[in-house]
C-alpha cells in the first residue's frame, strides 16, 4: 500500500536561525574535548605482541614512574582529529589571501612523490651507495634553483626561511672573517619594512642593526643606503620584491652602493614567487638569497611548517657554504659531509636538510616547467593587480594607486571615522568565508592589509572576493559597525582573549583537582 504521507520535501517555515543545542554542537561544527579528556591511560590504538623476555640492559635507569599519557582506539583517533580539522581553514577551503605567506595550491602529486619509499623511507646515514637517486634529486633541485636565480652555488640543508637567512648571513660573516675584517665589519643595514626575522637573524650572530628608512614611494633609496654605508658595513638585508608588494626598482644601485663599501647583499627571497622567470637575483647584484620552498614552490604550510629555505650564493660566498652539499663527479653525485674538506663555515643541521620538501618542490618545478613557472609569476602579479583595480576606489593604498607585484597593500586611512579597524575588517571576512589578509604588517604602514591572492585563483573566485570586500567596505562606510565589532560571529570560535592567555599562561593540560582538594 502506498504510504501517502512520506517525508516533507520542502524546507517549510524557517524557524529561528539559532538556538542553543544540548551538546553545544552546531550541526557539522562539533565541539571536541582535549585528547587528555577523552583518552585513557590503558587504551591503545596500536596492537603489538608482548615483547620477548630478555635481560634488561637499562641499568638502573628503567622508567619506574607513569608518564601520564593517554591513548585512543583507532576510531576515536579518527574522530578526534577529523573534528579538529573541521575547525581549520586551509587553502583547499577557500581563498587564503595572506600576504607575504603565499598560500597557493598544493598539488597532491607532490605529496605522492614525497611518499615514494625511495624518498620517504631512506635514512640519512645509509651507505651513500644505497641513496644515489636521493643525491641525484638534491643535485637536480639545486640546479633548478641556480638557473632560476642566476646564482652559481646553493646550500640546501636549511630547515626554513629564517634558517636560510641565518645560513646566508653566516656565509657572509665567514667571508668577512676570511678577509680579516670580522672586528670592523659589524653593521647590517635593514630597511624598516623588513620582516622581523631579518634583524633577529643578524642580531643572533652578533651583527648590529642599522635601520634604513623607506622613502615616500615605499621603496629603498640607494642614496639613503650609501649614506649609511662605510668601512663598518657588513651587509644589507633587503627583501625584493619588498614587503609592501613593490619591486625595489633601484636594486642594482643599492647593490652597487653596498658592494662599493665592501659589504654583501643579502636578499630575502620570501617574495621570489613574483619574479620567477622574470628576473634573476644573480643579475641584480645579490650575494645570498634564501628561497622559501614552502612559498614559491608550494610545499604545504602544514599549519606552520615544515618549511625549507635553500640559500643560493654568489661566487664570493660559495666556498663558505655549510656541509653537507652535493658535487658532481665522474662517478655521479657525491655528498660532501666533512666541513674540514674545504672552507665551509660548518654544519647547521644534523642531516641533509628537508628532503621531503625537496621532492615536493622539484615535483612542482617539473610539472610547471620553466614556461609554467614564469606563467605562474605573471598570473600571481596579474591577480594581485586585478584585486587592486577592483578595490582602489574604496580602499586607500599607502603609496598611491600604482602597479604592485604579487600582493597589494592597503592601509586603514579609508576606515578613518568609521569606528572599524583593520582587525575588525579582517575578522568580518571570516564570517564571509574568507581567511583574512595579513594585517598590521609591514609595520611601517598604519593598519596595513596585505592581500596576496597567488596564481591559484580563478577569475570567478577573484570577482566574488572583490565583490565581498566591496560589500564589507560599503558596510563599514555606512556605519554598519555591528557587522565588524563582534566579528567573527559564525566561526568555530568568537574572538579569543589573548590578554588572559598571556597574563597567566596555561600551556599544557593538567588533571583537574580531586573534589576533596578543590573544595579547600
Amino acid at each position: 500500500m502506498l504510504n501517502n504521507q512520506g517525508r516533507p520535501t520542502q524546507a517549510g517555515e524557517a524557524g529561528a536561525a539559532t538556538h542553543n543545542t544540548f551538546t553545544g554542537n552546531r550541526g557539522l561544527q562539533i565541539e571536541e574535548a582535549l585528547l587528555f579528556e577523552v583518552g585513557r591511560a590503558e587504551t591503545t590504538g596500536v596492537d603489538f605482541p608482548a615483547p620477548p623476555a630478555v635481560k634488561s640492559r637499562l641499568g638502573g635507569l628503567a622508567r619506574d614512574a607513569a608518564i601520564g599519557l593517554v591513548g585512543l582506539s583507532e576510531p576515536e583517533t579518527m574522530r578526534h582529529y577529523v573534528r579538529l580539522s573541521q575547525k581549520n581553514y586551509g587553502i583547499d577551503s577557500g581563498l587564503f589571501p595572506l600576504g607575504s605567506c603565499t598560500m597557493k595550491h598544493n598539488p597532491r602529486l607532490n605529496e605522492k612523490m614525497a611518499r615514494l619509499p625511495g624518498f620517504g623511507d631512506v635514512h640519512p646515514l645509509q651507505p651513500l651507495s644505497t641513496v644515489k637517486g636521493a643525491l641525484e634529486l638534491m643535485e637536480e633541485l639545486g640546479r633548478w634553483l641556480k638557473v632560476l636565480t642566476g646564482m652559481p652555488a646553493v646550500a640546501l640543508s636549511t630547515k626554513a626561511g629564517a634558517h636560510g637567512e641565518l645560513c646566508g648571513m653566516m656565509a657572509i660573516k665567514a667571508a668577512i672573517a676570511a678577509r680579516g675584517e670580522q672586528d670592523t665589519r659589524t653593521v647590517v643595514l635593514v630597511p624598516d619594512s623588513a620582516h622581523g626575522t631579518n634583524p633577529a637573524t643578524a642580531a643572533l650572530i652578533g651583527f648590529t642593526i642599522k635601520t634604513v628608512p623607506a622613502r615616500a614611494d615605499g621603496t629603498v633609496d640607494p642614496a639613503a643606503v650609501a649614506a649609511l654605508t662605510g668601512p663598518d658595513t657588513a651587509a644589507i638585508m633587503l627583501t625584493n620584491p619588498n614587503t609592501c608588494g613593490l619591486f625595489e626598482k633601484d636594486v642594482v644601485a643599492i647593490a652597487e652602493a653596498v658592494h662599493a663599501a665592501g659589504g654583501y647583499f643579502y636578499c630575502d627571497g620570501a617574495n621570489f614567487n613574483a619574479i620567477v622567470g622574470k628576473a634573476r637575483p644573480g643579475e641584480l647584484g645579490v650575494d645570498a638569497m634564501h628561497i622559501n620552498l614552502h612559498k614559491t614552490f608550494s610545499t604545504p604550510h602544514g599549519g606552520g611548517g615544515p618549511g625549507a629555505g635553500p640559500v643560493v650564493l654568489s661566487e664570493r660566498l660559495a666556498a663558505f657554504a655549510p656541509v653537507p652539499y652535493t658535487v658532481v663527479t665522474a662517478d655521479g653525485v657525491r655528498l660532501v659531509e666533512d666541513a674540514a674538506e674545504n672552507g665551509s663555515f660548518g654544519r647547521i643541521t644534523a642531516f641533509h636538510g628537508q628532503m621531503g620538501m625537496y621532492v615536493r618542490a622539484l615535483s612542482f618545478m617539473l610539472s610547471h616547467g620553466a614556461d609554467g613557472l614564469r606563467q605562474a609569476s605573471e598570473d600571481a602579479v596579474l591577480n594581485a593587480n586585478y584585486i587592486r583595480a577592483g578595490l582602489s576606489d574604496l580602499m586607500s593604498q599607502p603609496f598611491g594607486d600604482r602597479a604592485c607585484m604579487h600582493e597589494v597593500l592597503f592601509d586603514d586611512s579609508w576606515l578613518k571615522d568609521t569606528g572599524v579597524t583593520t582587525l575588525d575588517f579582517a575578522k568580518a571576512m571570516i564570517d564571509e568565508g574568507y581567511h583574512p589578509m595579513t594585517m598590521y604588517f609591514p609595520l611601517v604602514v598604519h593598519g596595513a592589509m596585505l592581500i596576496e591572492p597567488t596564481e591559484s585563483e580563478s577569475k570567478a573566485s577573484l570577482d566574488l572576493f572583490i565583490m565581498t570586500l566591496r560589500d564589507l567596505a560599503f558596510a563599514a562606510k555606512r556605519g554598519d559597525s555591528e557587522r565588524f565589532s563582534g566579528a567573527p560571529y559564525l566561526a568555530p570560535r568568537r574572538r579569543l582573549d589573548e590578554t588572559r592567555a598571556a597574563r597567566a599562561p596555561v600551556l599544557r593540560w593538567t588533571p583537574p583537582k580531586p573534589l576533596s582538594l578543590a573544595a579547600e
Binding site: 608518564i67 575547525k87 587553502i91 640519512p124 622581523g196 606552520g304 643541521t349 644534523a350 598570473d379
Partner: protein, 448 residues
C-alpha cells in the same frame, strides 16, 4: 598548465580592467635590461602528472628503502612503524594546507593539537612546559644553548663527548658565529668522562645526551646536583624519543632544559628531514624559551579556545631582541607526532619501547657471538656500539652489497679519528624480525 586556472581570455579581460596593455607593464619596475625573455637556461617545459611521476619514480627506485631490507641504521633517526591513520590524518586539507594559526577563530584545529602536543612533550620529558616544536633535535640543541646563555648571562657551553657529533657541530657553528665559547669533550664511547669536573663558574650550560650517541644510558641525577652547585643549566638531549617510554625521564633526573628529536614518533626517515624538534624546560625559564607557544584561553562567549601566546619573545615583535629568529617550525610533523602518540597512549608507548629494547638486546647478544665482534656498551636502550675487527665503513659497504643495512660507521660522524674507525653504531626497533637479525649475523660472519 593544470595548476593555473586563468584562461588567455581571462588574462586579457583582467589586463583591460587593470588598464594596462600587456603583462610586462606590471613588471615595469624591473630594469628593462634585466627582464628575462624566452627560455631560462636549459630548463625543460611543463610536464603532465604521468611524466613527472615517471621521472621522479626512476630517481626513487635508485635508493634502497629501509622497509625493503634488514635495517639497523640509527644514530639520530630511526625506522619505526607508523600507523596508517597518522598519514591519512596529516593529509587532510585543513591540516595540510593551513597556515600558522594567526587567526585563532578559524585555526582551533591546529591550536588544539599544538596544546595537546605541548602537554605530551612535557609529560614525556618530565618537564613543566614544552613549546610547539623546533626544526629538529640538532637546531633545537643550539637554541637550548643560546637560551641557557640568556638565563645565566654566561657564554660558555660544555658539550659531553657522548653528544651526537652533528649536534655538536651545529652548536659549534652557531656559537662560533655568535661569539660564544664552546668546550667540546672528546668522543666518549664508553661514557667514562668526568663531566662534573668540566664545568666551572663561567659555564652557562652542560649538554649531555642520553641515551648518548654510542647508545649508553647516562644517569643525570649527580650531574644535575653538580650543575646546580655552580649555577650551570643542565641541558639533556635525546635523539630517540621512543626511549622515553622505557627510561627515567630527564626531568625526573633534574634537567633544566630538555631537547631532542621527535622523528621516531609519527615521522618517516625522509633522508634527514623534515623532522620535529622537541623542546621543554622548567617553568621559571619560560620567558627565555625560543619558538611558538600555544596557550589556553576563552572566546567572547566564554568558550574554551587556544591561541599562540607570549609572542613578544618572538622575532615578529622583538625583531633584533627576539629569543630566536625561528618563524616557521614543524607544524605538520608535530601533528604526526601527536597523533601517533595518541594512538600509542601510555600503554602502547611503553610496549613499543619494551619491544625495541628487547630486539636490541637479542641482536647485541647474537652479534657478540660473532668471532672478533665486541659490544662495547654496559647499558643501552635500542642502539649500541660494536667494535669490529676491521674498518667499519668498509664492512658496512660489504653488508649493504649483501642486502643488509647494518648501521652507521662512527667514522662517518667523526672523521679524523682513526681510533674510532672500527666502531659501528647499530640500532634496532620494533620493525626488526628474527629473520632480520639472522640475516645480519650471517652476512657479518661472511664478510669478516
Amino acid at each position: 598548465m593544470r595548476y593555473l586556472p586563468l584562461s588567455e581570455a581571462d588574462r586579457g579581460a583582467m589586463l583591460a580592467k587593470i588598464g594596462v596593455g600587456g603583462i610586462d607593464e606590471l613588471f615595469a619596475d624591473i630594469p628593462s635590461d634585466k627582464l628575462l625573455k624566452g627560455l631560462i637556461g636549459d630548463l625543460p617545459r611543463a610536464k603532465g602528472e604521468l611524466e613527472v611521476e615517471r621521472l621522479l619514480g626512476r630517481m626513487a627506485a635508485k635508493n634502497v628503502a629501509a622497509g625493503s631490507v634488514p635495517f639497523f641504521v640509527g644514530a639520530g633517526a630511526y625506522k619505526h612503524h607508523v600507523p596508517a591513520t597518522v598519514d591519512h590524518v596529516i593529509q587532510r586539507s585543513e591540516f595540510l594546507t593551513s597556515y600558522t594559526p594567526y587567526q585563532p577563530e578559524i585555526a582551533q584545529g591546529t591550536l588544539q593539537y599544538l596544546f595537546e602536543f605541548q602537554t605530551q612533550v612535557a609529560l614525556l620529558t618530565g618537564m613543566e612546559v614544552a613549546n610547539a616544536s623546533m626544526y629538529d633535535g640538532s637546531t633545537g640543541t643550539a637554541e637550548a644553548v643560546l637560551m641557557a646563555h640568556r638565563v645565566t648571562r654566561r657564554r660558555k657551553a660544555v658539550l659531553s663527548g657522548g653528544l651526537h657529533p652533528h649536534y655538536r657541530a651545529v652548536v659549534e657553528t652557531v656559537s662560533g658565529m655568535a661569539g660564544d665559547a664552546v668546550t667540546a669533550l672528546p668522543p666518549d664511547v664508553r661514557a667514562a668522562e668526568d663531566l662534573a669536573a668540566a664545568i666551572d663558574g663561567e659555564t652557562s650550560c652542560l649538554v649531555v645526551q642520553t641515551p648518548d650517541v654510542y647508545g649508553n644510558l647516562r644517569d643525570l641525577t649527580p650531574l644535575a646536583a653538580a650543575c646546580e652547585a655552580k649555577g650551570v643549566l643542565l641541558i639533556a638531549v635525546f635523539t630517540e624519543a621512543t626511549a622515553l617510554g622505557a627510561i627515567t625521564s630527564p626531568g625526573q633526573m633534574g634537567a633544566d632544559i630538555v631537547v631532542g628529536e621527535g622523528q621516531s614518533i609519527g615521522n618517516g626517515l625522509n633522508f634527514g628531514g623534515p623532522y620535529v624538534g622537541l623542546f621543554a624546560c622548567k617553568q621559571k625559564y619560560l620567558r627565555q624559551m625560543p619558538g611558538r607557544l600555544c596557550g589556553e584561553t576563552v572566546d567572547a562567549e566564554g568558550k574554551r579556545g587556544f591561541v599562540l601566546t607570549l609572542s613578544t619573545r618572538e622575532q615578529h615583535i622583538r625583531r633584533d631582541k627576539a629569543t630566536s629568529n625561528i618563524c616557521t617550525n614543524s607544524g605538520l610533523c608535530c601533528l604526526a607526532f601527536t597523533i601517533h602518540l595518541a594512538l600509542l597512549g601510555e600503554a602502547g608507548l611503553r610496549r613499543v619501547a619494551a619491544i625495541c629494547h628487547a630486539n636490541a638486546v637479542q641482536l647485541a647478544d647474537q652479534l657478540a657471538g660473532v668471532k672478533g665482534v665486541k659490544v662495547l656498551n654496559e647499558t643501552f636502550f635500542n642502539e649500541f656500539t660494536l667494535e669490529l675487527p676491521g674498518d667499519a665503513a668498509a664492512i658496512v659497504e660489504k653488508l649493504a652489497a649483501r642486502g643488509v643495512l647494518a648501521g652507521v660507521p662512527v667514522s662517518r660522524l667523526e672523521p679524523g679519528h682513526p681510533e674510532l674507525a672500527n666502531l659501528l653504531l647499530v640500532a634496532s626497533t620494533e620493525v626488526n624480525t628474527d629473520e632480520d637479525r639472522a640475516s645480519f649475523v650471517a652476512a657479518l660472519k661472511e664478510v669478516l
